[in-house]
């Protein structure tokens, strides 16, 4: 993956875009989990959400800076 994306002549770091994509993905995952009431199996839902977000974002960012 390129490290920077050109958007109408403006260079944006790819990780910034990925951050936003990761936010959308983790939001969808959160919706899905709360829809099935899966959060009742976890001790600290907020921490879980944060960790999931970090995993998603980290995994996506690794494809850029590998």
């Amino acid at each position: 993956m390129p490290r920077e994306l050109a958007f109408h002549g403006v260079y944006i770091p790819t990780v910034t875009v990925m951050f936003l994509v990761a936010m959308v993905l983790s939001w969808a995952l959160d919706r899905f989990m709360s829809g099935l009431d899966l959060y009742r199996f976890f001790w600290h839902p907020a921490l879980l959400r944060l960790s999931l977000f970090s995993c998603i974002f980290g995994a996506m960012a690794l494809t850029v800076y590998r």
Binding site: S34, R40, P45, A46, L50
Partner: protein, 729 residues
């Protein structure tokens, strides 16, 4: 051995108490410090233009409960974006002419303050931000318009950083969830209410405690609505139950109104002594008291609620039979027509009360399930704000900014920008509080303290230290003090002033600038700006004064015409919530004046009782089967005429309108009595009998000598006789 054990027990208990009260505060302070320094460090590391802005965001956004942090952050982000867009637009339009720029800025801040006063929850906060972000970024850039776009961009970045850090810290480290607080309030509330009902049914409650409990329920209802709006951001568990929580609140308001109506009727009957009517009504009440007793004074869990729902449904099923036997006995004593109507009305109200309480218990019990049919609820809590009070807030803000700008332009004071900017921030932040003057004054004091501490730290301590950890050590004591002050409701203003304006003036950026003249000048400007805000809050249409209560009292009375003329769909919930919301505001504004508060409360009772009875009447008419005795009969016209006379009465409560309403109600009762009904006139099958009960209830409300309606009528008599100056006071 035993002594040792006892000692350790006492010590533990002490520690537990501390952990539950002060411990929570200290944990919160620790969280604020963590979030602030984390943000500060990242902002310095990333070399943002103003790391302090990011840190100030943390101070503004941080709240003890994580849900509130989310909500506030969300609206802060929206507000900042809106404010930045407006600032860049204004700058593009009026860069060459600062008078026009300042004028439009003043209007924009005024508009935002009006919005903040209009939407009092966290949405208000978005408006506050939209207003002062424009001022914060625009004013310093006024001399160099070319930098304004970048200034706006930096600011958005800094604020986003602050928001991300504070939400992270508040959600991940020892979270205090708003959801838990809400559940707790919700569970406790029914226990209190059950105790209140038991006292009321037994006739043991005195007026003072009756009013106090009602005020508490109203505050709970408004507060729970706020919490509900916040927990949506926080907790998927609560988000799934959002509809039911909404419904629960609405149903709770209904049962309190219903109970107040019943209580009012019972009080009036009991005042006459132990009559046969009272004796006939009491057995039904005693049964309900026995039913509620196990639930009184303790938290109602979901399982308890299911139990309560079961018992209530049994009670409800038995009630008609029970009433019929009581009625047969009562008729033997040869009661008058009026007594019989009282009996019917009391049982009608009791039946409805039990029915509503049954609904409430069912909804409460349904919270245990993840999905439930009761989730579908389309009657939201509707809040109302007097447009006049929001207009006052807007006018005040525009005026303050206008004066500041004129002074700045006229004197070309170098610190004029900070003065204008600070007054914009203060006026915006205080627009959401019920007492802007006090808030501004407290902030000015806090800022002064911040200036003293800041001067000491900047010029005596900072030159001697090196490195970020030491900087944190130096700043921490001030932040601890400020955060501690913000956790105490009576000192919020001092805390906010200290935190925000200490940081603005004294927290160093990457490149520390030591300039004592500018420093002192800026702080003088800030304190002056705030004091002017306080003065304006006290002079220009102060909200905690007579004109506004009277206005709100008028709005409260107008809810009756809302009940009469608004569309029937969802009316009950919106009527209940609007009335309570109005009273809650007016009650807050009239703080410290118990006479005014009591008067407002009494008006609210009358409005709620009559409005509720009217809504019931309208519903009864709406669901009547098609039959000639129900359609376009004189009784329906009489009820319509009564509605018109009630609207007139509540717009202008005087003796003349009161007597007209009374005769309209009497006429309606007679018309209903003279209508033949096709079905057996049983308590639970006869629509006309229910209609008659509600009409009778309205009549008793109007006749009640203790109600403010009677007060208004007699006041008019006494005011008219001595001299012809009704408005002299």
């Amino acid at each position: 051995m035993v002594r040792n054990w006892l000692k350790s027990l006492e010590w533990r208990r002490g520690l537990n108490d501390w952990a539950r009260s002060d411990g929570v505060t200290w944990i919160y302070i620790g969280k604020v410090l963590t979030a602030a320094f984390l943000t500060y460090w990242i902002a310095m590391r990333l070399e943002l233009a103003q790391p302090r802005t990011a840190m100030i965001t943390v101070f503004i956004v941080m709240q003890p409960q994580s849900g509130q942090v989310f909500a506030k952050s969300f609206y802060r982000l929206l507000g900042t974006l809106a404010g930045s867009v407006v600032m860049v637009t204004l700058m593009a339009l009026f860069a060459q002419n600062s008078e026009l720029f300042l004028g439009s800025l003043a209007i924009w801040v005024g508009f935002c303050c009006a919005g903040a006063a209009r939407y009092r929850n966290f949405r208000a906060y978005g408006f506050v931000l939209a207003g002062y972000t424009a001022a914060m970024t625009g004013l310093p850039a006024l001399a160099h318009p070319d930098t304004s776009f970048m200034a706006a961009m930096w600011r958005v970045l800094e604020i986003s950083l602050g928001i991300v850090c504070s939400t992270l810290v508040s959600a991940a480290i020892l979270p205090q969830s708003a959801g838990a607080a809400m559940r707790n309030t919700l569970y406790q509330r029914f226990g209190t209410f059950a105790q209140f009902v038991i006292n009321g049914l037994r006739g043991e409650s005195d007026p003072a405690s009756f009013e106090a409990s009602n005020v508490r329920f109203i505050a709970d209802a408004v507060g729970l609505e706020g919490l509900r709006a916040v927990t949506v951001f926080e907790d998927p568990h609560m988000r799934r139950r959002n509809g039911r929580l909404n419904r629960l609140n609405s149903e709770f308001m209904t049962i309190t109104t219903r109970f107040n109506a019943l209580h009012q009727l019972l009080e009036r009957l009991r005042r006459r002594g132990v009559t046969p009517a009272v004796q006939a009504i009491d057995p039904g009440l005693a049964a309900l008291t026995r039913l509620l007793e196990p639930f009184a004074g303790r938290a109602l869990t979901n399982a308890d609620a299911a139990l309560l729902a079961n018992r209530l449904s049994v009670y409800k099923a038995d009630l008609p039979e029970h009433v019929r036997s009581l009625r047969a006995e009562f008729v033997k004593t040869g009661p008058s027509d009026d007594d019989l109507l009282d009996f019917h009305t009391a049982y009608e109200l009791l039946y409805r009360f039990v029915d509503d309480m049954h609904d409430y218990a069912q909804t409460h019990a349904s919270l245990a399930d993840h999905r439930h049919a009761r989730e579908k609820w389309v009657e939201p809590f509707v809040s109302t704000t007097s447009w006049l009070s929001s207009l006052a807030s807007g006018v005040r803000a525009t005026f303050i900014l206008g004066v500041m700008s004129v002074y700045w332009v006229a004197t070309a004071w170098p610190s004029g920008a900070s003065m204008t900017l600070v007054s914009a921030a203060t006026v915006a932040l205080s627009a959401t509080t019920p007492n802007p003057r006090r808030m501004s004054f407290q902030m000015a004091c806090g800022t002064f303290l911040g200036a003293v501490l800041g001067f000491f730290i900047t010029f005596f301590v900072l030159p001697r230290i090196d490195g970020f950890p030491l900087l944190c050590m130096v700043l921490a004591p001030v932040f601890v003090l400020g955060t501690f002050l913000t956790t105490r409701p009576q000192w919020v203003g001092y805390g906010l002033g200290l935190l925000i304006f200490f940081s603005i003036g004294s927290a160093p950026d990457n490149l520390t600038v030591y300039n004592p003249y500018a420093f002192i000048n800026d702080y003088i400007a800030m304190v002056l700006g705030m004091l002017l805000c306080a003065a304006a809050g006290a002079i220009i249409l102060p909200p905690n004064s007579r004109w506004l209560w009277e206005r709100l009292e008028g709005n409260l009375r107008q809810q009756v015409s809302f009940a009469i003329s608004a569309p029937l769909r969802g009316i009950r919930s919106s009527f209940e919530s609007r009335t309570r919301d109005l009273l809650h505001q007016a009650y807050g504004l009239a703080a410290g004046k118990p006479e005014v508060q009591r008067n407002l409360l009494r008006w609210m009772f009358v409005v709620l009782e009559i409005g509720h009875a009217i809504i019931e009447l309208r519903r009864e008419q709406d669901i009547l089967p098609v039959h000639p005795s129900y359609e376009s009969q004189p009784w329906r016209q009489a009820i319509r005429a009564m509605g018109r006379s009630l609207i007139r009465l509540f717009i202008q409560p005087d003796r003349h309108n009161l007597s007209r309403s009374l005769s309209a109600v009497d006429h309606a009762i007679v018309c209903v009595q003279n209508t033949d009904e096709p079905f057996a006139p049983h308590f639970d099958t006869s629509a006309l009998r229910r209609v008659k009960s509600y009409l009778h209830f309205i009549r008793t409300c109007l006749l009640d000598p203790q109600s403010p309606l009677a007060g208004a009528a007699s006041e008019q008599v006494s005011a008219a006789s001595p001299q012809g100056q009704p408005n002299a006071s």
